[in-house]
Homo-oligomer: 335 residues x 2
């Protein structure tokens, strides 16, 4: 048997933690063997929760930390709280080679800053990017950057293409990575100079990791013709959040429409199974987990408001990234 994968878990971040974190570990552990969890947080709170689970003490170790970073802390004040927080300690365990990847459902800005303070950038990558999974008709897109960098140059966007493709290949090894640049038209003349120059660079410099498919417009993101969507952090953040808002709007309007009459309620009830299938396909917990790319260790951000199922899926993303050798893939393919 191989050495187990070691995942550092910040148990104190996000709503309803450490409860959802520990239950998420239990769910993940029940489906995956050969994983070891280094759990960082307040042991007085964590231990009673763990006792109620089926977790075997051979599969985890608790590292007590007195402090924690709050959602309302600014990245700077979070970094100042420093060493004795669960977030800092869990990231430091990567630096010490005690863990292979880290998951936190805590403060995104703080996670970003503390990770950058503690870990090294992959050589030749200038800026880290925040990426996430986004469903399309045929599977999943990787989309980046989602807000780490408001302004990006050509080199950054080329790096993001490479890192996004490496992430997609790590998660879905049987699929080909197909990269597209988010733009406001599919013609070559559209967009600003940075996008046009990036188009040229990606066209000229062939590589074995991904196929470059040109520009994509917002309405085609979910068509499934490409699976890695590259943009600057401002545009990516707006696009992702707009999609989220639109999905919420539609499902709430739909719910209202289906509940607005007795016959509606009855037939929705009959139709429950199909609607559940629909809901499952769109369940954001299934693709929960933003991945910070560009550092020499995998840093995974679970959504602050997710539950134990969502957190378990973030652990799953961690595992796949390590098994898929994400960091190696990026290093080997730097353009």
């Amino acid at each position: 048997m191989n050495d187990p994968i070691k995942i550092a878990v910040d148990a104190m971040g996000g709503e309803n933690s450490p409860n959802k974190v520990i239950k998420g570990i239990e769910i993940h552990n029940s489906k995956n063997s050969n994983i070891f969890y280094n759990i960082f947080g307040n042991e007085k709170i964590i231990e009673p929760i763990i006792k109620k689970t089926n977790l075997n003490y051979k599969n985890y170790k608790i590292f007590h930390t007195e402090n924690l970073i709050k959602d309302e802390d600014s990245p700077l004040s979070a970094a100042k709280k420093g060493k004795n927080t669960s977030m800092w300690q869990s990231i430091e365990s990567l630096k010490k080679f005690e863990s292979d990847a880290i998951v936190s459902a805590g403060n995104t800005g703080a996670l970003f800053v503390i990770a950058k303070l503690n870990l090294s950038m992959i050589e030749k990558i200038d800026k880290p990017a925040l990426s996430a999974l986004w469903p399309n008709k045929n599977g999943m897109n990787v989309v980046l950057d989602l807000g780490a960098n408001i302004e990006c140059n050509e080199k950054n966007l080329v790096d993001f293409s490479l890192m996004g493709a490496a992430l997609h290949k790590s998660l879905f090894e049987n699929e080909d990575a197909k990269v597209a640049l988010l733009n406001i038209g599919s013609e070559e003349m559209k967009g600003n100079n940075i996008i046009k120059n990036t188009y040229q660079l990606l066209t000229d410099k062939k590589n074995s990791l991904f196929e470059f498919k040109g520009y994509i417009e917002g309405n085609n993101i979910m068509d499934g013709n490409v699976n890695v969507i590259v943009t600057d952090g401002f545009t990516g953040n707006v696009a992702l959040k707009t999609a989220e808002g639109t999905a919420n709007f539609i499902t709430s309007e739909l719910k209202q429409a289906l509940n607005s009459s007795l016959i509606g309620k009855i037939s929705s009830f009959i139709n429950l199974k199909n609607l559940k299938k629909f809901k499952k396909k769109l369940d954001p917990r299934l693709y929960n987990g933003a991945i910070l790319l560009g550092l020499d260790k995998p840093v995974i951000k679970s959504h602050g408001s997710t539950d134990e199922i969502g957190f378990a899926n973030s652990l799953e993303v961690c595992e796949k990234i390590i098994n898929g050798k994400l960091i190696d893939k990026i290093k080997k393919n730097i353009i």
Copy 2:
């Protein structure tokens, strides 16, 4: 009785024209009196269609044009085709004070360029913007810019706030206009310098047309707390198209889920009325029509792929804008 509102109609633009255009005029005319339509296009094609409608010859005049601008024409080649196209002539009829507003379902880029060549900018407005209606929980948002300007400075974004608010007040006179800047966080420190400076300008310079409500994130666009959303043309275009793509994705997944079993089909059938109500609320034809703001006459772009109902709604937008004195509202409130 007041003089009729005169609308210049480019009959030759968009899919299935002039058929949908003439039928759209018929629908609009049946609900609205005191409108006169100046119809520009090939009379040999238009006349036989008009004869099949209930339109009274006192309500329209056909202006024959030999040429037309195609969707695949570049804006430059469209402008070169020039004077004898239905699009050029219909815009020129505004310049000659023969019409009060123009609607076209044709090539957006060409409409933009030909309008700029023929019409004057409103004094003190530097750049025109493309705006559109976007539903929210309580009614409709005006969103701009949607692609006319890839890069915008502070002055442009302040102008867009004013023009968007004027448009909202013209369309929905009983509602207060509430402006927000699209950003990637609601805190004041987020965003690039242009957005931060615009925030400051809008906070400092009070005006009687709208209330400035600060920043808004993509996921809150449809919440209904504000109704005028301001951003640069790149971000606005990506956001609008991403929302469109997400809505299409969800409705097609939903359809599939509801049709995937016999019981699903039966109960969907029972539920038809509610689903229809849902569909109607999201029907893009209901808010069809992008409005080019900043020129001293109203220029309305109907969606190329819309049908006669959508085109009739664009005519309705025209009428409301003229009755609501949009251009006067902008001129009186320039900051």
